[in-house]
Symmetry: C2
Amino acid sequence: MKKISLKDIALLAGVSPSTVSFVLNGKEKQMRISEDLANKVRAVATKEGYKPNQVAVSLRTGQSKILGLIVESIGGTFFGALAKVIEKEADKYGYRIVYCSTENDPAKGREMLRVLSHSNVDGYMMTPVEGMEKDVMELLKSKRPVVLIDGYFPDIPAPYVLVNNAAGVTQGMNHLISRGYSKIGFVTVDIDLVQIREREQAYIAALKKHKLGANRKLMLTLEYNYDKQAGVKAISKFIKDHPEMDAIFFATYYLGISGLQSVQELKLRIPKDLAMVCFDDHDIFALYPPGVTTIAQPVEQIGITAVSLLIQQLGKDKKTITQARVEIDGDFIQRGST
Amino acid sequence: MKKISLKDIALLAGVSPSTVSFVLNGKEKQMRISEDLANKVRAVATKEGYKPNQVAVSLRTGQSKILGLIVESIGGTFFGALAKVIEKEADKYGYRIVYCSTENDPAKGREMLRVLSHSNVDGYMMTPVEGMEKDVMELLKSKRPVVLIDGYFPDIPAPYVLVNNAAGVTQGMNHLISRGYSKIGFVTVDIDLVQIREREQAYIAALKKHKLGANRKLMLTLEYNYDKQAGVKAISKFIKDHPEMDAIFFATYYLGISGLQSVQELKLRIPKDLAMVCFDDHDIFALYPPGVTTIAQPVEQIGITAVSLLIQQLGKDKKTITQARVEIDGDFIQRGST
DNA sequence: TCTTTTTGCAAAATCGTTTTAGTATACTAC
DNA sequence: GTAGTATACTAAAACGATTTTGCAAAAAGA
C-alpha cells in the first residue's frame, strides 16, 4: 500500500525516470519524446494514480506552491473571513495556504517567518506587527515575495493592501455630523499600527474640518488585550463622564461590541440617548436592535488583491512590485444606531 | 545572502556533513563525537545562524512535523476558535498546522487529503463530511494517524473527539421543561452528520421521557447552505404556524442567529412570548438582550484532546488508538431567554 | 561512402538532509 | 608482535523528484 514514486512508473513503463518526468511535466516536445512513448507513460501514470511527492519536488525546484499567511489571530472574524477568501483565491492559481497567527507578538511573528522560510514557502502575506519592520526589510532584500495586509509600515517599501481607513472614518463622521450630532466621542486601542492611527487622525481631522473644536478629551484609548469586563467598565465610565456626548465612534469591531455592552448596562437607548458608528462590521451589529451603523471592511477584495499582488511577484519575470499600495474603500452600512 | 546549508557548516568547521548532522541532532554521544569537536560545530552553527532546511529533512525522514487540519469552513466562529486552540497546542509538541476547508464537499475534502498526503503531513485532524467514509478508511488502513473532530462515522473505527451532543440537548430540554415550558420546538438542518442527528434524537427522547407526546410536528428542518433571508422567513413561518409553541431549541448557532432575527421581525418578546435555547455559543447570544441560553462547545478541551490523540499516534511505538472516542460535556450557559 | 546533424531517450548530477557502513588510529590483551 | 576492540570520525547511499549532459542510432548532407 506504499506510495508509488516516479521511479515505479518508470519501471512499469519500461523507460527511465527522466523520461517520465519530462512527459508528466509537459516537456515531451522540448525533449522530443515520441508521441507513442509519451502516451504510454501517461497511461501508466494515470492507471497507477501517480502523484508527485511534493516534498521532493520542492527540494529540487526550490518552490513549494505554498503561500504563508501570517495574521494577528486566526480566531477573529475579520481574519477568519479573510483566510477563507485567500484560500479560495490562491487555490485558483494552484497555491495552498499555511496559516499562522502572531497574537501581535513580533517574536512569534519572527519565529513564524523563520519556520515558513525553511519550509520553502513561495511567498508571504502578513498583517504588520509593531516591531517587525526589520524582518520585513530582510524579506524584501532577499527578494522574497511579500504582501502586507490590513496595514503597512510607513518607511518600508513593501506592497500592501488594506481598507481606506481615513476615508471610512471620514465618511462615518460626515454621516454623524450631517445627522446633527456634534459631540462625537471616539474609542480606540493603543496598538501602534498605522490602520488604527489613521482612523484616529481621520476622526480628529473631521472634528477640525467641521469646527467641532479640539475636543480631544472625547477620545478613549483602551489597552490592547484589555480585559473584557474592564473594557466595558472603562467605556461606561467614559460615557458617564461625558454626558454631553451624543455619539460614539468605535475604531474596531471588538471595541464596538464592548461598547454595546456598556450601552446595555447603562440602559441607554440607541440612537436616542447615544448614536453609534463602528469601524469593521460584525454579525452582531446587523442583529442587535436597532442595528449599528458600520464601515465594513471589503474582505473579499482585500483577499483577492493580496493574492493577486503576491502571484504577480511569483512569475518567471519576478518583477518586484514594491510600489503597489492598494487602499480599498470600505462599505458604509447604515443601520438604526444613527 | 543565500541560505547556509549543513554542508556550509561542515566546510567552515572543517568536518564532514555527517558529523555536523550528528552533533546538531544530539547524536554526538551515540556516534562518539568528541566534546571539543562537537562544541566547535555548535559554535559555527549558531554563529552562522544555521537552521536545517525542513523540506530536505522531510524528504529524508518522511516526517514533516506538520499536521493537517481539515475543517468545514475556516471562517466559522467555532472552527476559527478551534483552529486557534489547535495551533497553540500543536506548537507545544513542535508541530505546525496546515488548514484546509471542505465547505462540506466530499470531493474537496478528498482533494485536500490527497494534497496533504503528498506533502508528507504526519497526521490528519478532520471534521467528518458525509461521503468521506471510504477516504477515512483508507487512511486508517495505511496507518496514517487520524483524529475526527466534532463528529464521527458510526461504522468507522477512527478515534474522535466531540461535544456530548445528546447530553447537551438533554440538559437544555430538562432546563426548559423544569421551567414549565411544554410545547418545545426544534429547528435543525438537513446535513447528514451524526452530531446533528444526535441532537435531534436527544430532543425527541426528551419529549418522550417527559411525556410531551409525539409532537414531531414541532420540528423544522432547514437546508444546509440555506439562504439567509429564506431561513429567517422559514423560521418566522414556523413560529407563526405554531402559536402554541412556548419555546424553541436551535440545533446550531447559525440557526439560532437566524432565529433571533425571526423573533425580532415578529416582534416577539423573549422569553415572555417564546423561550429560546441554542446549541453552540456565540458572542451575540451573550449580548443580545436578554441573552440566549446556550450549550457552549468546549472548544479548548476539544482542541487539546484532538491534538493529544493525534500526537499519541505519532510516537515511535505508533500505537493505533482506534478506540479512543471522547465526548466532552458542553457548558450550559443560562441567560435571559429561558 | 563518410561526415555531420538530428532524433529519442538514458545516465548522472543535484537539491539538503539523515543514516548506514566503513576506515584509520589508538589502545588492550595474550 | 599480532589480533582484537574501542574510538572518532568520514564516505557514501538514500529520500524522490528535476535537469543537464551524454550517447547511441537514424537521417541528412556532401
